[in-house]
Amino acid sequence: MKVKPIALISTADDPITKALPKVIALITFVMSLLLLMTLSAAIFLTHLNRDQANELTIQIPASSELAVQRQRVDGLVSVLTAFHSVREVRVLSKSDVIALLQPWLGDQETLADLPLPSVIAVEVSKDQPFQTDVLLQELRSVAADVVLDDHRQWYSSFSLFSGKLLGLLAMLLVAASLSLIGLIAFALKTSLVVHSKTVEVLHLVGASDLFVAKQFSRLVWKLSAVGATVGATAALLVLWLFQWWMGSEESDVYPLLDFSLWYLIPLLVLVFLIVWLSGLVTQRVVSGLIRRQRR
């Protein structure tokens, strides 16, 4: 039977033991926040895609004559129903329009007395190509002042923007990883001086460089596991508190963070990657430093 390995590197008086868990906790905290925000943005986008990507809205401004307005709406509806690739046409009721306008125009009673624009919601087929320009032209022949609100256009520019945002977040994650590597390398330089006697003795009793390096990486593994877990947990907690603080009324506007696996699994992977990276960097850096010392 093999006996369990012990920590051959002393953890007392070591800059690494004291500082590393804190530093790693901080970096993990920042990386977790970035990751969680990226995830909720991505999840928000997918929902948006599913809900709205195939919808258009058609609007015509209010006219003083109700009968004229209704006639124009009927004209638009017949154009729409005739258009290929349109699957469903729905004229919004007065109360729906009021509900839509309310956030911008204030309370319901005033709105009810005003002449209201008409809104038609259109669902287009996902499978067929759809030419917005052609449709718009046909609609204008019925009502020249028609406004076509293409969610898909808005969506595509939004997704371009969010794509750039995701790129930025990814770059920040890479930057955080690089600073983690730099910090570990820096800490190890000091640590190796502190533990020079241990390193020397290990070498004298026949340890290979790899064996010595592994002693350090095992230590760093443990420390970074603690730090990364603390950092990731803190990030979850902070986002959760933030959401709670933002209140429930607005929470359907903001992407919702929940404790579902969509968030927890990537976060666990992040923690695992940070711990693995710390150990690997340690092994490499210590081997390199020992080799350089020997020369």
Binding site: V3, S10, T198, H203, G206, D209
Partner: protein, 246 residues
């Protein structure tokens, strides 16, 4: 087994510690290394346990020029050399048991059997009750015995002991040299560096004398090799010619 060919050694720009030293040490031999304090005994041993390298000349171990070895080969060679350091070189944050087990751990072969061997050896050197103590809780002589246990636990082919009896009473000193002789009997090549006149006068061993950077080989006196007046296993016949001056 250990060959020095015109070896010189100096630290930095300091004086020559070794000057053109040449000698061969045959496998299975037992040598004393003597010289006044500062003569360079520890420095010479360092060249053998590969903690430093000659300024000029050639050091060969097990037939290989030590300068031709890669770091991994150096590590493998060091495992065949047990060293009792003059300043013990124990790790203060490890227990006595863990200190002694180090040479086994670095080879990756440390299991229950080895663990028992460590306990057994510690009991043998009189430290059975101290396995879980830390070096700082031990006397100088006890620490020295820990260092000796660590040096011999992996059954090295070469045992180098730097002043191994300096901190222990006569009785324990005799016991320790007995241990070295025991190991020597089963084939270990032993070199004991000492300025203890007792060791030199009470025992009859071939000697390397270090003086002003020169190494002189002194053959054993006539009679039995080893502790005087005590019978020592038939070693005498093999002793002649074990030391060749270069």
């Amino acid at each position: 087994m250990i060959e020095f060919e015109s070896v010189s050694l100096r630290y930095g720009n300091g004086p020559l510690i070794l000057r053109d030293a040449s000698f061969h040490i045959q496998p299975g031999s037992f040598h004393l290394l003597t010289g006044v304090s500062g003569a360079g005994k520890s420095s010479l041993l360092k060249l053998i346990y590969l903690a430093s390298f000659a300024t000029s000349g050639k050091v060969k171990l097990f037939g290989r020029d030590v300068l031709s070895l890669s770091p991994d080969e150096l590590a493998l060679l060091r495992r065949r050399i047990g060293v009792v350091f003059q300043d013990f070189q124990l790790l203060d944050h490890l227990s006595v048991r863990d200190n002694v087990s180090l040479p086994l751990r670095v080879t990756g072969k440390y299991g229950d059997k080895e663990r028992d061997n460590v306990a057994e050896l510690l009991a043998w050197v009189g430290l059975g009750q101290y396995v879980d103590h830390f070096p700082s809780q031990l006397s100088g002589g006890q620490q020295q015995r820990v260092a000796i246990a660590r040096a011999v636990i992996a059954r090295p082919a070469i045992l180098l002991a730097d002043e191994p009896t300096g901190n222990v009473d006569d009785h324990m000193g005799i016991r320790l040299v007995d241990l070295f002789e025991e190991l020597n009997r089963i084939g270990t090549t032993v070199i004991v560096a000492t300025h203890s006149t007792t060791l030199v006068s009470e025992y009859n061993f071939p000697t390397l004398r270090l003086s002003k950077g020169e190494v002189t080989a002194i053959p054993p006196r006539k009679g039995k090799i080893g502790r005087r007046g005590v019978k020592v296993a038939a070693k005498g016949k093999a002793d002649k010619g074990k030391t060749n001056e270069g």
